[in-house]
């Protein structure tokens, strides 16, 4: 299995706010292959989100290297990383981060503004239908339920056919049914050859993962499988 995401000895520290440096991540290594669903689990403050942001090239590590599809993110400029993300990475966040002035359809199509996606309208409609949002396509996001919002966010993350899907507590605000639908969406993406890195503190959310990495105080608490 070829590695889509490679994290090698990642370390990251940040200011705690009272002048002390906190080691958010310390020597984390992880590899996620194509078709693999990896979950990172740990309590709040364990460094999960920091790890996810580093994996997506939104945050630069203090030490270590990150590569996606064999491309070293550390050697890219911020603009190059943005361009690279637009074609290769999808994000799903706990807070959905939908754009309030756009409809469901236009939210899903947002990645097409950043990157050239030839079949964006067709693909957006298919994704919307797939996630059960067909009747809501032209609704403003403010009128959606939380489950619908997260499904919209997931559809948006998949529009650019990413190689890597990064999900940060995607079920944190959802009821069981909607959580299940979102997890199923992530799982399907992996089954279709994508790589998924899910960070969560919820034990139930890791059921569908192929592997689980445990984090505690920025360190690997459990050995990653593979």
């Amino acid at each position: 299995m070829s590695a889509v995401l490679e994290l090698n000895q990642i370390a990251k520290a940040h200011d705690s706010g009272n002048g002390r440096r906190v080691q958010a991540l310390d020597g984390i290594s992880l590899s996620v292959g194509a078709g693999e669903f990896v979950a990172v689990r740990g309590p709040s403050g364990s460094g999960k989100t920091t790890l996810l942001l580093i994996a997506g090239g939104l945050l630069a590590p203090d030490e270590g290297a990150v590569s996606i599809g064999g491309r070293d993110l550390g050697s890219m400029t911020a603009e190059s990383r943005a361009r690279f993300r637009a074609g290769n990475v999808g994000f799903v966040f706990q807070q959905f981060h939908l754009i309030p002035y756009l409809s469901v359809l236009h939210n899903v199509m947002t990645p097409a503004v950043a990157a050239n996606i030839g079949d964006a309208p067709d693909r957006a409609e298919k994704l919307i239908a797939r996630f059960g949002l067909g009747s809501r396509a032209h609704h403003p996001t403010a009128r959606l339920s939380t489950g619908e919002r997260q499904r919209t966010a997931l559809a948006r993350a998949l529009l650019n056919r990413p190689r890597l899907l990064l999900a940060d507590e995607p079920t944190g605000n959802l009821d069981a049914d909607n959580a299940e639908r979102v997890m199923a969406g992530l799982s399907d993406f992996a089954k279709n050859g994508g790589a998924v890195l899910l960070v969560t503190h919820d034990n139930n959310a890791t059921d569908r993962a192929d592997r689980v990495l445990l984090l505690k105080d920025g360190k690997q608490a459990g050995a990653p499988a593979g």
Binding site: L58, E79, A82, R83
Partner: protein, 425 residues
């Protein structure tokens, strides 16, 4: 969907933010355009008023000049061309002339290009005792003025005396008891009295005017005259020298005598009338110019203040917009939006309210300016050939102002750290 599609939708979503920015640009443009329109209206009104004033002054000046001309016309000819050998004492002391010159001289003068004199009047002038009455009189033989051929005809200073008619001075009338219409005999010729002149207090009171040809006949001076009377032109400088030089070139063997004071007074009076009118107009022009200068100075201070005020206002609005959209910026950066795209997302909006604000402000300013300036709007801008230039300038300025004001907020948005934002919200 493109970036501009997102901009339009964001504007539609946050109407108040866009409306306030739009108002700011519109107000700034309206103030500038309104001020320009007011100044333009003022300029047009000034031009109109000055034209009216100029016409009034010209009319009044012409009227005054004409009045003075008519008043001073009675002062008579002021240049006399005499034969060179004529003793001037005879003329001054006795009011009579004895030396003669051909009448043809006056025609020669009239055909010449002479410019220093006009109103040419050939005369005979002889002091004699009226045999039938025993009264000493000066006999004047006159005819109509001989027009200068290279000049427009002028109204004669002195009309001719019809044949068989005599005009008489006040003293003659008193002494002989002659009234207008009376019949009398002079040198065996019958005359009827055409005019009796009022008392003038000079030699005219003892003068009898008859037709030149008749006088020449009575005095045995066929085709001869004693003098050519003329009116000097109102030329600057040493007039009499110029006149003498010019006439000497045309009529050699003559002398020129100037009767100064009356004509001089006439010229000076006309000068003063013209000068007075021109001074009044110049004062009016200066006053309007000063007023316009004050308004322009005020506008020169007001315009930058309005621009700065609008820029600050837009800057704050844009900054508020950026803060409100922090999460949006974070997710867009995560999705893969580049800094330049984020910058465009905000500056594009600034360009839009710059353009729309210019159109609204231009119309509002033109309407307000025209209304305050009491000028038809169509006249103010639509018929102004420079209107497109002004609109282009206003548009460029407003868009530049909007982009400038939105630049720092937009730049702060483009430089936002998405990781930080996504961890915060």
């Amino acid at each position: 969907m493109k970036i501009w599609g997102m901009i339009w939708r964001e504007i539609a979503f946050r109407k108040l933010n866009f409306g306030l920015a739009l108002f700011s640009v519109s107000a700034a443009v309206a103030c500038l355009v309104g001020t320009l329109t007011l100044l333009q209206a003022d300029e047009r009104r000034t031009d109109r008023l000055l034209a009216e004033k100029e016409a009034e002054v010209a009319k009044a000046g012409a009227g005054l000049e004409d009045a003075i001309r008519r008043i001073t016309k009675g002062l008579g000819f002021n240049v006399i061309i005499l034969p060179e050998d004529q003793n001037l004492n005879e003329m001054h002391l006795e009011g009579s002339l004895s030396k003669q010159m051909p009448e043809e001289y006056v025609h020669r003068l009239a055909k010449s290009k002479i410019v220093t004199v006009n109103h040419l009047l050939p005369t005979v002038m002889k002091k004699l005792t009226w045999p039938e009455t025993g009264l000493s009189v000066v006999l004047y033989g006159i005819r109509g003025e001989v027009p200068l051929q290279h000049r427009d005809p002028k109204k004669p200073l002195l009309d001719t005396v019809p044949e068989g008619t005599m005009n008489i001075g006040h003293h003659v009338s008193q002494k002989l008891g002659l009234r207008q219409g009376d019949e009398t005999v002079l040198l065996d010729q019958k005359f009827s009295v055409g005019k009796v002149h009022g008392e003038r207090g000079n030699i005219d009171d003892g003068t009898v005017w008859i037709n030149l040809a008749k006088a020449q006949e009575l005095l045995g001076m066929q085709n001869l005259i004693h003098a050519i009377q003329a009116l000097e032109c109102h030329c600057a400088g040493d007039r009499i020298s110029q006149i003498r030089a010019e006439i000497a070139g045309i009529l050699p063997g003559t002398q020129v005598v100037e009767r100064g004071p009356p004509a001089l007074a006439r010229a000076e009076a006309r000068d003063r009338a013209r000068q007075s009118a021109e001074d009044a107009l110049a004062r009016a022009v200066a006053s309007r110019r000063e007023l316009r200068g004050q308004r322009e100075a005020f506008a020169a201070v007001l315009a930058p203040l309005i621009c700065v005020g609008a820029a600050v206002w837009i800057g704050f609005l844009m900054l508020g917009n950026v803060r409100e959209r922090r999460a949006e910026i974070g997710i867009l950066r995560a999705i893969g939006f580049r800094s330049s795209q984020i910058l465009l997302l905000f500056l594009g909006k600034a360009v839009l309210f710059g353009i729309v604000g210019t159109v609204l402000g231009f119309v509002a300013g033109a309407l307000a300016g025209a209304s305050l300036g009491e000028m038809p709007v169509g006249l103010a801008w639509l018929q102004d050939p420079e209107a497109p230039v002004h609109f282009g300038l206003a548009l460029s300025l407003a868009v530049a102002l909007s982009v400038f004001a939105g630049w720092i907020p937009a730049l702060s948005a483009a430089r936002q750290d998405p990781a930080l934002v996504l961890q915060e919200v």
